[in-house]
Subunit: 284 residues, 2 copies
């Protein structure tokens, strides 16, 4: 497979959080591996959208004839980092019939009464689908660590449970693609401010966004721990610079294309007698 | 509101199945009200997609602050008429976070054990959402009539139950938009044939498509009955010529824009003190 449009390296490799990865030194306002400017990035996103859509269609087609493969994109980030934009512009370019989106909010009382993975398991994608988690089970080791809602022993138990869960998914045929959108703290301030100065965006702002901002460095520490404990060969993390929305979107798009491209998908031949059906049709 | 791009009349009005509507004389290979050619139609679809997306975003925004409105697109058609294309190209242009798609297949044993609306009610859109039914509760008065799985008295009971159900939805804030894609019988033959002569489409073909084709005229009679019994002021049917895919897509897009445009949507002001939050942000 040749390198994606405009890239000198695969984003999927370049942005992977490998052993020794250090979030504190990872760029937020950069476009690693990409040689162009914003306009080039926007054009590349549009040009590559049909490639992603077609791969997902093949995944779906295979599933209609017994294929078990699926892909799950797990999105985590600080507020305003652009998860919604990834859902709308990257996953949104795929046929909605092939996308299973799950947005994880604060758990309900019923959900709280169960193990933290209880509400996550049924949200995993069926064969043929591109699943998207907007937030995820990682909230249970992020906000819970930041606010001390779970102690160290419990957090360690959860990391292990997450690794087991994701290994199960992988064994069942799901390619797990985990992405953290890495936003700069200053850029967040700009984006929150924009929401408070545009009447079409007032509804997106919540005072709690600012409350959580106070805990920024604690969140970064919690993310660092997440990468150390849960970036496994079966389900690695990718940390994507997110200050440039156009870059984050194209990088995630390429990471997904790479994941689907690696599945060696084929158009199914059908389970009927082609010659016979062609003859029937001629007489119909 | 001015007429949509390229149209000399509103498709939402022009294509409505009013009292006296006769399916047998409705065109399949036409572009009613549209003055342009295919290229113009494709361009108009792309140009109007952001309008639909923005209206849905406003609908969603209102719902975050107590708004109860939603829209439900009910799609019915013969095989290959292009329901999938409407989902992908029309609903697909809306943020996936705002779309709730439900594809109705043959009912499961559990579903069969309940009233025919049992599986339909939970699939209705929540406030703020654009719901899409790919097939629907109308199968229970279409395929059931064609194959004699329900007698006349039961079918009449179902028409009444459907009207009650849709009136309930409307009363709760859901604008119900019903669309039948009106495909020509010859055009279906061409499309089935195309599926049997393109390896990337073999998977879309099923021998049962041809089995059902034998019942074409019985299906047309069943649709005619549906329009007579269930095209109500609260939930009218639109019959959209579907031989030209480009026309059907733009017509459905305009019907949806008209439905959303009629809801008098406003950007919410938010439920916080704007001045106070701006000050807090300056200090953050």
């Amino acid at each position: 497979m040749s390198l994606p449009l405009g890239f000198s390296e695969y984003p999927s490799r370049l942005l992977k959080a490998r052993a020794g990865f250090n979030l504190a030194s990872a760029p937020t306002n950069a476009a690693p591996g990409f040689d162009g400017k914003k306009d080039d990035g926007v054009a590349a996103l549009a040009a590559r959208a049909p490639v992603l859509a077609r791969l997902q269609e093949q995944l779906f087609a295979e599933s209609r004839f017994g294929g078990k493969k699926s892909v799950l994109l797990v999105l985590q980030a600080m507020d305003t980092a652009g998860k919604g934009g990834i859902v709308a512009r990257v996953a949104g370019a795929v046929d909605p019939q092939g996308v299973k989106l799950k947005t994880f909010k604060a758990p309900t009382d019923e959900e709280k009464a169960h193990d933290f993975l209880w509400r996550v398991r049924p949200a995993a994608p069926d064969p043929g689908m591109l699943g998207v988690f907007d937030r995820s089970h990682y909230e249970d080791v992020l906000i819970h660590r930041v606010h001390g809602w779970a102690d160290e022993a419990e957090l360690e138990r959860r990391y292990a449970a997450i690794n087991d869960f994701e290994a199960e998914l992988a064994a069942a045929g799901t390619t797990v693609v985990k992405v953290m959108l890495n936003l700069g703290k200053d850029e967040q301030l700009q984006r929150l401010s924009a929401r408070l100065h545009d009447p079409t965006k007032y509804w997106k702002y919540s005072p709690t966004d600012l409350d959580e901002r106070v805990f920024w460095s604690a969140y970064m520490d919690a993310y660092q721990k997440v990468f150390e404990r849960t970036s496994t060969p079966a389900a690695p993390w990718h940390v994507v610079p997110a200050d440039k929305k156009w870059y984050a979107r194209m990088a995630v798009q390429e990471i997904l294309i790479d994941a689907l491209g690696g599945l060696n998908l084929q158009w199914p031949t059908g389970d009927y007698d082609l010659t016979h059906e062609r003859t029937r049709l001629t007489d119909a």
